[in-house]
C-alpha cells in the first residue's frame, strides 16, 4: 500500500478542532447506522478530527458485527441518500468479483487435473513388474545377456520381472516408477548416472535427416545402434559432452524406438564413453550408466560403457504402474493418465542430463522424468509455479549438481530448481 507523505499526516493531525463532541446517542447511532445522512456526515467530520471520539467508537463496536452491511441505509430521510446507490454498486461489484474468483478457481483446478499434478512433482506408486519399453523389433544380440534381451522387449505389459537385459545382473531390467518417496528403497545403482551426449545421435540423425543439433562438437564415430532403429539411420558415433551438459536434439519422428539390430548393437559398443569429468560414481567406483537420446527421440541408457543401449520409456512405466497400483492415488493417476494423448504416452525425448544417480529426461509435450537411482525408478515431474505449469517441449536440461537445474522449453520458458526438482520457479 502506498504511504501518505508524513507531512500530510502531520497537517491532518494538526487540523483537530475544538468543537464539541457528539453525545453518546449520536455515536451509538453512527455505529449502528441509524443516523440521518446529515447527522452521519457531521459525526464523520468530527471523527476525522477527534482521536478521542474515534477511540470511543472503536471501543463501542460490538464483538461480532456484520461488516458487510453497506446496504444498510440510514434513516429514511426526505432526500435520497448516497448510501443506497453506493450499496447497490457495491453488491454488483462483489457479485462480479465472486464470479471471477469462482471461474478462475474452477479453471485452475481443471488445468491442474489435466496436467496431473497440483505441485511440482508427481510421484507414482512403484511397480515391480514393469516390462521393458515397447520394443517391437527383435532384441539385439550383441549383449552378453542378449537372450534375455530377446524376450524382454516383446513383453509390453508382461511380467519380465527380473530378466536381466543388461550386463549388470544385479539390476532390474524393467523400469518402474518410484513410490511417493521418490528416493526409493531400491539401492542406488552402483553406477553413477552419466549422460551420453546425444550429439552422436544427433549427428547420426543429421547424416540421415536434417535438423539435428548438438550441444557439443561431435567427432564422427560409429553410431549407436539402438537409437537408430532399423539400421537406416545408423550414423557415426561422436564424442559426447560431459554429463552435466544439456544436449539438444531435434528429432523428426515420434515413434517409439525399437531395439537396434545386432549390427547396431556392435556399433553401439564402440561408442565413446562420456567425459570422465562428467561421471560421478557414488557407489563403488563401477562405470556409471550412460544416457543418450536416439535420433528418433527415445531415451536410452547403457550400462556397459556404451557397448549396448537399451531404450527406456519412463512414461510407459508410469501408465503401467497406475494400471496395477491399488492405491487411491494410483487410481486417480490412472484415470488421468488414460486421458493423455498418444504423444504423451510415447514422448519424444529431446534432452537428458545426469548427475550421479540423478537422471533427468525431458521431451515433447512437457514430458519430464526424473530418476534418483540411475533409471531404476522414474517419476513424472510437472514443474509448477504460481499457478502455471511448464508447457511446450523441453529442449534442454542442465544440472550443475543434483540440486540445481535448469530447463528450457521450445516456447522459451526457463524453469529453475534449487532443490532437486521439488520446487520450481520460472
Amino acid at each position: 500500500m502506498r504511504d501518505v507523505p508524513k507531512f500530510v499526516l502531520k497537517r491532518l493531525e494538526e487540523s483537530a478542532g475544538g468543537e464539541a463532541h457528539p453525545d453518546a446517542d449520536l455515536l451509538t447511532g453512527f455505529v449502528e447506522k441509524s443516523l440521518l445522512e446529515s447527522e452521519r456526515k457531521q459525526v464523520m467530520e468530527h471523527l476525522a478530527r477527534c482521536s478521542a471520539c474515534r477511540e470511543a467508537v472503536a471501543l463501542t463496536l460490538p464483538a461480532f458485527e456484520d461488516v458487510a452491511s453497506e446496504d444498510v441505509a440510514p434513516i429514511p430521510s426526505v432526500r435520497p441518500t448516497r448510501n443506497r446507490w453506493f450499496s447497490w454498486a457495491a453488491v454488483g461489484w462483489a457479485a462480479a468479483t465472486v464470479a471471477i474468483v469462482a471461474i478462475t478457481f474452477v479453471g485452475i483446478r481443471e488445468y491442474r487435473l489435466r496436467t496431473n499434478d497440483t505441485s511440482s512433482q508427481v510421484l507414482m506408486s512403484k511397480n515391480e513388474t514393469a516390462p521393458p519399453p515397447n520394443l517391437a523389433a527383435p532384441p539385439p544380440k550383441a549383449l552378453s545377456d542378449s537372450d534375455s534381451l530377446k524376450s524382454a522387449p516383446q513383453e509390453k505389459n508382461g511380467e519380465g520381472a527380473n530378466s536381466p537385459r543388461l550386463t549388470q545382473p544385479n539390476r532390474q531390467e524393467h523400469f518402474s516408477i518410484a513410490p511417493l518417496n521418490r528416493l526409493s528403497n531400491q539401492p542406488p545403482s552402483p553406477h553413477a548416472g552419466q549422460v551420453h551426449g546425444a550429439a552422436g545421435r544427433a549427428v547420426s540423425v543429421a547424416s540421415g535427416a536434417a535438423g539435428a543439433r548438438s550441444a557439443a562438437a561431435p567427432e564422427p564415430s560409429q553410431s549407436s545402434g539402438q537409437g537408430s532403429d532399423r539400421g537406416s539411420k545408423a550414423g557415426k558415433e561422436t564424442a559426447v559432452p560431459p554429463a552435466s551438459e544439456t544436449v539438444e536434439v531435434e528429432v523428426e519422428t515420434e515413434d517409439a524406438v525399437v531395439p537396434a539390430s545386432p549390427s547396431d548393437q556392435k556399433a553401439a559398443s564402440k561408442k565413446e564413453a562420456v567425459d570422465e569429468q562428467s561421471t560421478k560414481n557414488f557407489a563403488d567406483g563401477a562405470a556409471p550408466p550412460q544416457w543418450s537420446i536416439s535420433s528418433e527421440g527415445a531415451l536410452q541408457h547403457s550400462l556397459d560403457a556404451g557397448q549396448t543401449w537399451v531404450n527406456v520409456n519412463p512414461e510407459q512405466e508410469v501408465q503401467q504402474s497406475t494400471a496395477t497400483a491399488s492405491t487411491e492415488i494410483a487410481r486417480a493417476l490412472k484415470k488421468s493418465a488414460q486421458k493423455k494423448s498418444d504423444a504423451r504416452s510415447n514422448p519424444v525425448f529431446r534432452a537428458v542430463a545426469a548427475f550421479g544417480n540423478e537422471v533427468w529426461a525431458g521431451g515433447s509435450a512437457a514430458a519430464l522424468y526424473h530418476s534418483g537411482d540411475s533409471g531404476v525408478h522414474w517419476a513424472r515431474i510437472v514443474p509448477f509455479a504460481s499457478g502455471v505449469t511448464l508447457s511446450g517441449d523441453i529442449s534442454s536440461i542442465n544440472f550443475s549438481d543434483p540440486q540445481n537445474g535448469r530447463l528450457t522449453t521450445s516456447t522459451g520458458e526457463v524453469w529453475i530448481t534449487a532443490d532437486g526438482g521439488r520446487t520450481w520457479r520460472r
Binding site: G18, S34, S51, V67, E70
Partner: protein
C-alpha cells in the same frame, strides 16, 4: 434530559399523530410511564435532533426510527420506577460488565468502570435536590445496549486521559524518562506553499476519507478495525487508502506546480522528515495518536449541548 429547543408545530403534529402507536409499541405503561409523559419525551427527542424547518413527514419518519421500547425503559429507570429497574437489571446487568471487560481488558478495571456507570445510571448524583440519572439522556437513536457501551467507552477514554496526565514523577523516573531541558526547535521552516497545498488537498477530501486516513495512519488501527467502524470490508479500506495516497500526492504536487514549484523540489518537499519541521508544540499536544492522549477540549459529556 432537558432540552432548550422548542418543539416545532410540525413535530408536535407528528407526535400527536403517532402517539398511540408508539406508546403501544414501547409498552411505556408497563414501565410506569403515562402516554402523555411518553409523548412529551418523544417530542423532546425529535426537537433535539430535527432542524426547526423539518416538516411533518420527516418528523414522522424520524419517530419511526426510534427505539421506543428501550426509550421508555430508560426514561422510566431515570424516573426511579422500580419495575423498570428490575427489567433493566435483568436485561443489561451482565451485558454491561461484559462490555466493560471488553473495553478495559482487565477484570478489576472493568468492574470499576461498570460499577461507576451503574451509579451514574441509578442517579447517585443530584441536581437541585433531584436525583439525576444518566439514563435520562438516552434518546433512543440507537439501541440501549449500544448506548451503554458508548458511555462506557467514553468514560474509559476520559479515565485513561486523566490517568496519563497524573503519571507520577517516580514512575517516569523508573521508566527512564528524562527531565532535561526540551530540545530547541529545529530551524527548518515549512514552506508555506507546501502547507497551503496540503491543507487544500486535505480539505478537498470527504470527511469519510479523512476519517479513514486519521484512523489508519494517526491512530494506527488495522484495516479490519477501520472497516468495522465504517461498516465495510477491510479490502475496501485498503483500496481507499491506496487511492487516497495517490490522490493526495497528485493534488499536492499539482498545487505546488501551480505555485511555481518545480517537480523535483515539490517531491523533495513532500518527503521531508516531519521531525525536521518547525513544529507548533501546543498544537501538537492537542492531538496525540493511538489513544494515548485525547482532545484537551473538555471531557466527554461536558461539552454536549444537552
Amino acid at each position: 434530559m432537558s432540552t432548550l429547543k422548542p418543539i416545532s408545530a410540525a413535530v408536535q403534529r407528528a407526535v400527536a399523530e403517532m402517539r398511540s402507536e408508539l406508546c403501544a409499541r414501547s409498552g411505556c405503561e408497563n414501565f410506569g410511564l403515562t402516554s402523555e409523559s411518553f409523548a412529551a419525551i418523544l417530542g423532546e427527542v425529535a426537537a433535539k435532533y430535527l432542524p426547526s424547518e423539518t416538516d411533518q413527514a420527516e418528523a414522522h419518519a424520524f419517530l419511526l426510527t426510534l427505539r421506543v421500547e428501550e426509550l421508555a425503559l430508560a426514561r422510566a429507570c431515570a424516573a426511579g420506577v422500580d419495575a423498570a429497574w428490575d427489567v433493566f437489571l435483568v436485561r443489561y446487568r451482565e451485558k454491561l460488565y461484559h462490555s466493560a471487560l471488553r473495553i478495559a481488558r482487565d477484570d478489576a478495571a472493568a468492574r470499576e468502570l461498570a460499577d461507576g456507570l451503574y451509579a451514574e445510571l441509578y442517579g447517585v448524583n443530584t441536581r437541585e435536590g433531584e436525583r439525576v440519572s444518566k439514563l435520562a439522556s438516552f434518546t433512543g437513536r440507537g439501541s440501549l445496549e449500544g448506548w451503554l457501551r458508548t458511555v462506557l467507552a467514553q468514560e474509559f477514554v476520559n479515565r485513561y486521559r486523566r490517568a496519563k496526565r497524573l503519571v507520577s514523577l517516580e514512575e517516569e523516573i523508573e521508566d527512564g524518562a528524562q527531565f532535561a531541558a526540551p530540545e530547541p526547535e529545529r530551524s527548518t521552516a515549512v514552506d508555506p506553499r507546501l502547507e497551503s497545498c496540503t491543507d487544500a488537498a486535505l480539505a478537498a477530501l470527504s470527511s469519510e476519507d479523512r476519517f479513514v486516513l486519521a484512523a489508519y495512519y494517526l491512530d494506527g488501527r488495522p484495516l479490519a478495525e477501520v472497516g468495522r467502524m465504517l461498516g465495510v470490508h477491510e479490502s475496501t479500506i485498503s483500496r481507499k487508502l491506496d487511492k487516497l495516497a495517490k490522490t493526495l500526492r497528485k493534488n499536492i504536487l499539482a498545487g505546488l506546480a501551480r505555485l511555481g514549484v518545480g517537480r523535483r523540489e515539490a517531491e523533495q518537499a513532500l518527503e521531508v522528515d516531519v521531525r525536521d519541521l518547525h513544529v507548533n508544540m501546543r498544537r501538537t499536544l492537542a492531538q496525540e495518536s493511538l489513544g494515548r492522549t485525547f482532545s484537551k477540549v473538555g471531557d466527554f459529556g461536558k461539552d454536549q449541548s444537552s
